[in-house]
Symmetry: C2
């Protein structure tokens, strides 16, 4: 029996463990989990903070009992501190102190940690002062505890996915919110034209949006917090939430001297093998093979972590699976808007001659009540005609999230933009059009940029 | 300049005409349209009858002026009665009588006509008696005129797409409805297990559903209508609507002696060429190349008609386009339910070893409010692992229609069921799951029927 040790209890680690059990019920993988919350949905945190998910326990994809019944040996509240790749042991520390766990195959799924930007005061102020970072369940409890004091206002630093979701969460608790972003537009993962639609949605929900603004200092001031930034930005507030992205947590992996790759993430091949024998890694701690670019990128996403975890688990049992690759497909709900993207944008489309074309198309036939516009931006290669990417913004009920999946599936297969028009997609007037919005956008691109 | 003559003003004909104009602005195609309603959405008729689309004029995808401005020469209220393929003329009849129209290239888009089942009385009773078939705008006006008399009850014969949509339309006008279907379950285009869910939705909206029942006779009785059927079925009612499907309208094409193919539809190759030189045909009057089966089938669908029309138009100008093929992708809304399908089911999967696996998966993470189940049936080839088809039933807001499109795009590319799990699909808790319902179903199939 292979002794498989998995470090990490989030998407990558849990997927690896469960897939191992699925493939070989005799292997009982040990999962070392730093906190008491295995298999919690980090993506669900904003909805607990908002109050939409009142009981934080329901954020668990599976309960501890589910996981144990599925054959996983869980070591909770246990930190892995060091790998000895020669002895094939991992040093772990729990409430009884340090000990060594042996392994035949090791899977690292240590995930990511929030980036701490250079803001004066951020190192000395903390949750008790109302200054928060947000990544773990413990971070969540600290924030909800602050929010129980019913603060009047908050400053959110960072207008990425988590920042925008947290703005909505705070607004739905009645907190006045200022959103500060260093870049010229919110949500820099989509083009500025679409970011502008998101900004309008934020304005419609009374969010004070400050783009092109860098926060330089947070300080206590008359029992509250003062946030100071570029161009004379200054706010007195009760809560500061800093959510400017994540970086891979490679501290453990580095003790085994694994090579690091893109953006300092653990380098892995498509079999999720690190450069050290018997050590696999998956999820937010590793760099990610990009299916379209054919290169490694850093795209920390739960969906990818799940898939990589499965590959790592299967290969740890001796298989030769390859990760199919990521396309950076993402969707985000902000108030009543859904924003989705897949593939690459002009600036990322190295080795191509990318052109992007914007289209607006209804989510269903205009004559049927309730039709709403979807804003689509399709990126294709002017040289080959190949579909490179798509970005969509529309109402949360306009199936933007599944329309982006049609584009993602098309890119997965290397389709040409014009061939998207040939897909046999479904239609009924209350739900679509004879040529779906996806195809209308593909057609518009082709008309403009050749066949 | 090529003289292109198009017969038919619905999806196939209009698409052909518009695409010709797009490709060659100097060619001004002539469209011969039997009635006064070019480019009307037949699929939208139920929503006008229901009252959701109060003005029937809005059912036009484009107005007459739109079409003329786009460069089409419209001959409305003009019936084409005969083709002379040697002289290359078509005899047409309008209010001035018959005349001959010459062509260099002819595109037939005559569509389909409703099937008249062998029901005693159906040939003698008509709209003024409250007995209706439904396919054209004129049929629609006849029906809405009957409904203005505020009938109490109706019998709908046929529980296919149109029958179910019309049941909903009549119910939303407060009409008591009995739905009669010859087959054992409603909506025979999906498996019986899913048809049962549709039946439950009909029951929840007080529809009296009679399956396994054949209507044999309709007669006038004491100022109302009496409908008699198998097993002692008998209803006295005010309106009878017979919607049991369509058959290709090949009357015109047969005057040119074109070969007929599957189910009596016009035989065409993938370039939409008939067996007679210079005559193309597209839409509901032709048989349809099935991309997965690699054979011709009869699948009269607006989406397909559009695509075939474009191919016919392009080839009439001398190109060599090929129709990419249909997968029979369809979606239907019945009250609050959406029912979608793509590809083939067990019984249609000739040359394969089909197995179908049923799964239920949430439309989004269960912890976020409002999650609803989607019922999925995935069909794969047990021999090769290839994805053959999918059927989905869920709430109309659960993006069933775009989830079927992900399956359709996967089948378009000949994916294996298990590879669907590798697709990089979007996720956010309010709109999906890390493994989307589509992937959960693919995984369940693979677990059951091999990799």
């Amino acid at each position: 029996m292979t002794r498989v040790l998995v470090i990490g209890g989030s998407d990558a680690g849990i997927s690896a463990g469960l897939h191992i059990q699925e493939l070989d019920p005799n292997t009982r993988p040990t999962l070392v989990v730093a906190d008491a919350y295995p298999n919690f949905s980090i993506c669900g945190i904003p909805y607990h903070v908002s109050g939409e998910v009142p009981d934080w326990r329901t954020l668990a994809h599976r309960t501890r009992a589910d996981l144990e019944n599925a054959g996983l040996d869980l070591r909770l509240n246990t930190r892995a501190t060091r790998i000895d790749p020669f002895a094939r042991t991992v040093t772990v520390v729990d409430h009884d102190g340090p000990s060594e766990l042996p392994y035949d195959q090791l899977i690292i799924g240590t995930g990511a940690v929030p980036i701490r930007p250079r803001i004066e005061g951020l190192d000395t102020l903390g949750p008790t002062d109302g200054v928060h970072l947000l990544h773990t369940m413990d971070d969540t409890f600290a924030l909800t505890s602050t929010l129980e004091r019913q603060p009047e206002s908050a400053v959110v630093v960072g207008a990425g996915y988590l920042g925008l979701e947290m703005v909505e969460a705070l607004r739905s608790r009645g907190v006045a919110v200022t959103l500060v972003e260093m870049l010229p537009e919110v949500l820099s993962t989509v083009d500025r034209e679409l970011g502008g639609l998101v900004r309008a949605e934020l304005h419609a929900h009374d969010v004070d949006v400050r783009t092109g603004t860098t926060v330089g200092r947070i300080e206590r001031h008359a029992g509250r917090l003062r946030v100071l930034g570029s161009d004379g930005f200054e706010r007195t507030t009760d809560v500061v939430l800093v959510v400017v992205g994540v970086r891979p947590d490679t501290a453990l992996a580095e003790t085994a001297r694994v090579k690091l790759g893109v953006r300092g993430a653990i380098a892995v091949d498509r079999g999720m093998r690190t450069t050290v024998d018997h050590i696999y890694a998956a999820g937010d701690s590793v760099h990610t093979y990009h299916r379209l670019l054919g290169t490694d990128t850093y795209l920390p996403l739960g969906t990818t972590a799940h898939k990589q975890g499965r590959v790592a688990g299967e290969n740890a049992l001796g298989a030769f699976r390859r990760f199919a690759g990521s396309l950076g497909t993402q969707v985000l709900k902000v108030f009543d808007l859904a924003i989705a993207r897949t593939g690459v944008r002009d600036r990322d489309a190295i080795d191509f001659r990318p052109v992007t074309h914007a289209t607006v198309a209804d989510d269903h036939k205009a004559y049927y009540p309730g039709a709403r516009p979807i804003h689509l931006r399709v990126t294709g290669d002017a040289a080959s005609g190949r579909l490179l990417g798509a970005q969509l913004v529309g109402h949360r009920d306009s199936s933007v999230h599944k329309r982006i999946d049609v584009f993602a599936t098309a890119i997965h297969h290397g389709m040409a933009v014009t061939d998207v028009e040939d897909l046999d997609l479904s239609y009924t007037p209350p739900l679509g059009s004879p040529y779906d919005a996806v195809q209308v956008a593909a057609h518009a691109w082709t008309q403009q940029h050749g066949d």
